[in-house]
Amino acid sequence: MTTPKMTKINSGATTRRRALKLAAASAALPLVHIRTGRAAGKVSIAFWDHWVPAGNAAMQRQVDAWGAKNQVEVQVDFITSNGSKNILTIAAEAQAKTGHDVQAFPSWEVHNNADLLEPIDDVMKRLTDKYGQVNDVCNYLAKVKGHWLAVPTSSGTQYKGPCGRISVLKDKAGLDIVGMYPAKAGHTAASDTWTWDAHYQAAEACYKAGMPFAIGLGQTSDSVDFAGALFAAFGAELVDKDGNITIKSDKVRAVLEHAKKLVKVLPDDAVSFDDASNNRALISGKSAMIWNPPSAWAVAKRDAPQVAADCWSFSAPSGPAGRFLPYLPFFWGVWSFSKNKGAAKDLIEALLQREPVQERCDAVAGYDVPPFNSMLDFKVWEDVEPPKGTVYNYPLRPFHHAKAHIAALPAPPEIAVQIYNRGTMPTMMAKLKSGQTVDQVIAWASDELEGFNR
């Protein structure tokens, strides 16, 4: 249809003044905020590819809903941690200074990329004002020079405490783990007897009964996290918070003396364990206890229901310096080279509200642990079965009298990341298992630590 006005323009009667007006209006058009499809631009986000497939679907649903509501086109990628692919992607994007707007950073990667991350204090302030403070490990890993560079998330965040076989531990070691850590709020006197000595005695009894604790002494994270909790319980720091090497201490010697006994009752092939070895040992019914999040239990529920029905997650043993539970948080951070930082931050904040966190937590049967204690009242940990309440004590609860811990804390993160990823602590234990003396192990580790301090 041709309008009279158009006819006039098409007839060539456009004046220079009119043309200038049109040009000015065209130039100003992007400055006007028009609420139309995808008006707020695009955001790309890389999430950790969840072990539990339902976790990705729940996340995608939430992101789609947020995008539709806020008129933002969101590109979501789920990147696996198998073969460290997520870390490789982060390293590549940091080098190229392009890629996703938001990345899911595993524990140490915030510090590794601190210079390229957008401070996110505003989001953290609103979240902590609403839901309370996060734990010391999150502060240690994501707060750099007083600024939050990433927000601790629930997605992929896990505790890695003990998961034991109820009947086996009771029969072979006289350990009533359900009695110590029942599926209800409140401290029990029995849990005070759960010490590292008790842990060793139970490990020895189960080893003799042919059901050893499947604890690895390799260099992968399950081995490192276990060793980190043990060292922390004895107050044994390899490097202090100021970066001084403190390995030649009585506390380190004490933990190694304990480890010397413990490694003798661990599986003969513990030094070659990876993060799947302990799961397999539990699921196949060959082990009385492992240190892991409920992923092993979840697989057992599918593949060996009778084993799953006998599993119970509980807190770590206590030592002279306290009770420390391995904790591996994930963070969501915005690259400084992101082209849509505002929308990226809004998305992160929206996804960390109580309702979406709970929905995702339910979808993954409680595997994800929220960073805020105020969210620990989700029903999922009470309801999951079999047996009912098996993961109630999986997240750290105030009455456990424990602290979340990551191996190598409190060393400065640039040193700690090397202690962690090189598996220094489990390697020390592996050397003890191979017959080296405590002095030889300390000498070796001391040399290693000097190399990390550059």
Partner: protein, 315 residues
Amino acid sequence: MADGTNVPVGGLAAASPKGRKTAMQKFAQRRSTTGFLLCLPLILLVACFVVYPAFYAIYLSMLNKKMTAFVGLGNFQFLLKRHTFQLVIFQSCLFAITAVVLKALLGFTLAHLMHNIPGKNQKIWRGLLLVPWVIPLALSTLTWWWMFDPSYSAFNWVLNQFGFANVPWLGVGWIARFCTIAVNVWYGTPFFMIMYLAALKSVPEQLYEASAIDGANAVQKLFFVTLPMMRNIISITVLFSLITTFADFDIVRILTAGGPQDMTHVFATYAFQVGIQSGDIPLGAADSLFMFPILAFAAFFVLRGVTKRTKEIAA
């Protein structure tokens, strides 16, 4: 012999209107120009994906950990002082040299056996023996890993059936080293076999006949006819394999991830652990570049030998 680089193509038809060619026309009509233009895509690919990354790695290896300052050869000096890295150098050399020698010996033997199989059967055996080489390495190594698995090793199951105790295949340093080398030999031997088989087939039969008339026995034929005729192909194959074996990542990463107690780390796996996992990319780059002088040294001598022998044959 004319090299052809200055021979004009279609010179008669391409004269300028004034009967004289411009410099540009002359340049465009050279065969070397055509050759260069045809090679240009490849040159660009090599420049983008080989030359640039190589120089970028050299640049990275000379930065400090935060990548904010130039430290020259500081990272290399630092690495050389570390006990663990000295262990990595030893293990990389042990892994590469042992594996290449074993692959060469096995490949040579298999090639001879294959050469003596008559008719169709040779094709079948050749195809079968090439299988390890054509399966993606990561997949086949995963299969090996299952067989060496700490808890459910297939090998241990067999040993148990005969009353023997379990062997911690990947849990004891020297056994784990043996396992990584064995898998590399399993994977790489078919390459040597096929190369040597091709070389064997190119040795003129008359040489064997002449040596037989001279009274040479089988061993003498091997040392005085076969080996001298195969020297170039042996050298090139060994060099090529040495480069790929030194740079091997998959086998060690999948089987042991460098453990137990760092006793199987090679340059590539250690570089990954230091550079990517521990966030020290410059140190990781320096680590991976340690291979460069070793391989350059080997390549120089091997290629010099090949060139010398080629000239001797031509003369």
